[in-house]
Amino acid sequence: MSGELKPTETLDVRGEVCPYPDVMTQKKVKSMKSGEILEVLIDYPLSAERIPESIKKMGHEVLKVDKTGASEWKILIKIK
């Protein structure tokens, strides 16, 4: 990550249980402005797979899903 994508905001949902990572991410995305980038830190496998799908369905762009460690992912979302 050479800083080519600077997240506007970071949402840390590590430790959270089903379905809070999904619900909190959707809420956050709705509160942000077009063109902004949201970084989601997550450690729950089901939501790490499901959030990119549901965000695409909402019409936003998923820039990246990086596995950053044991059961940890970083999702970058660009708000449309």
Binding site: E16, V23, P45, A70, S71
Partner: protein, 349 residues
């Protein structure tokens, strides 16, 4: 005392089941809740496939004389009340009975806390302070039939979709399978995961809904004769496993151990293996408020499952495929409890 071969078969099938649950992220709480919460049907499709596969499997095995079906009792009051409480509990606990169990193997401390509540209240409701509530609801609303019909064990008096209308179970099985396949064809898009090599697909990525459903359906199938050989004529179950586990520990009586006890222990081990291989094992916990919420959810899971005489696995994955009316009613009640709670907790503005 339980035979060593029964211990081994329970453990092995539990490990396979736990592995499949973790890889498929198979949780009925998510499956039902997400219909209304996220308009997401992927896990629901996995549940439907698993029910169709196990239903066909059970009836083929029963027709061949390998097993005798043993549908659960129908006590409408207990099925409705227990199912509803269980449905509330699974939203609060962040997982159904099987979902909570496999997530313990992923290192989710919140699910472990929920499991402690689940075990405790299963014993309290089964043989402790709440046992009269359970007995009252079960005995006063019980409905039996005199003719169990073909493929069912002769001592069983539980109504099924086949014996209440007096038709061959196969007719009902085929009708349900056609309806299920119709629903799958209608909602087939979404949830396919195709990238990667075969071993990557099995060990590293989440399974697609159809693979998950087929594998879990087959595990449910082989569980039936394996469990019957151990003296428990029923396929998969979770609640009985955990309550016998805690009963054995607290009362020091190994005679209550059953095939199901080793099944649930196997599920935790299998899920831990699957999560470990995929790099998804991590000890992690939510904040204190959520932990309390999950513990209360776990308590409700245990109370509900014991009153209803089964959890989502005993009823929806094992009883519905045997066409048991009690399991179908309990199943619907679980879904209603889940939806009401998800709406109040997660969807109201």
């Amino acid at each position: 005392m339980i035979e060593p071969t029964s211990i081994l078969s329970g453990l092995i099938i539990g490990i396979l089941f736990g592995f499949a649950l973790q890889r498929g992220r198979f949780c009925m709480n998510s499956a039902f809740r997400d219909i209304i919460l996220l308009k997401e049907y992927t896990l629901l499709k996995a549940v439907i496939v698993a029910i169709i596969v196990s239903m066909l499997g059970f009836h083929v095995m029963a027709s061949l004389g390998i097993i005798q079906l043993n549908p659960k009792s129908f006590f409408w009051g207990a099925n409705i009340v227990g199912g509803f409480i269980f449905g509330i509990g699974m939203v609060l606990a962040g997982g159904c009975a099987s979902g909570t169990t496999y997530r313990v193997g992923e290192g989710m401390v919140g699910s472990f806390v929920a499991l402690l509540g689940f075990m405790m209240s299963a014993v309290i409701t089964g043989s402790g302070a709440l046992r009269e509530v359970k007995s009252y609801l079960q005995t006063t609303t019980k409905i039996t039939i005199t003719e169990p019909g073909p493929l069912v064990t002769t001592t069983n008096t539980s109504p099924t979709l086949a014996n209440i209308i007096g038709v061959d179970p196969w007719i009902v099985v085929i009708v349900i399978a056609i309806i299920g396949i119709g629903v799958l064809a209608w909602k087939r898009k979404g949830g396919e995961k195709t990238e990667g090599s075969l071993s990557e697909k099995i060990f590293k990525r989440g399974w697609s809904w159809w693979a998950t459903g087929i594998v879990i359906g087959i595990i449910a199938m082989i569980a039936f004769p394996a469990s019957a050989a151990a003296g428990r004529n029923y396929p998969l179950g979770i609640t009985g496993g955990w309550s016998t586990f805690l009963n054995t520990l607290t009362k020091g009586d190994a005679n209550v151990l059953s095939w199901e006890t080793f099944l649930v222990i196997g599920v935790v081990i299998g899920a831990a293996i699957a999560a470990g291989i995929a790099g998804e094992f991590k000890l992690r916990a939510p904040g204190p408020r959520r932990l309390v919420q999950q513990f209360i959810g776990g308590l409700l899971l245990g109370i509900g499952a014991v009153i209803a005489d089964g959890c989502n696995i005993g009823h929806i994955l094992s009883g519905v495929p045997q066409l048991a009316i009690g399991s179908i009613i309990a199943g619907f009640s679980i879904i209603i409890g889940c939806w009401v709670t998800a709406y109040i907790l997660l969807m109201r503005k």
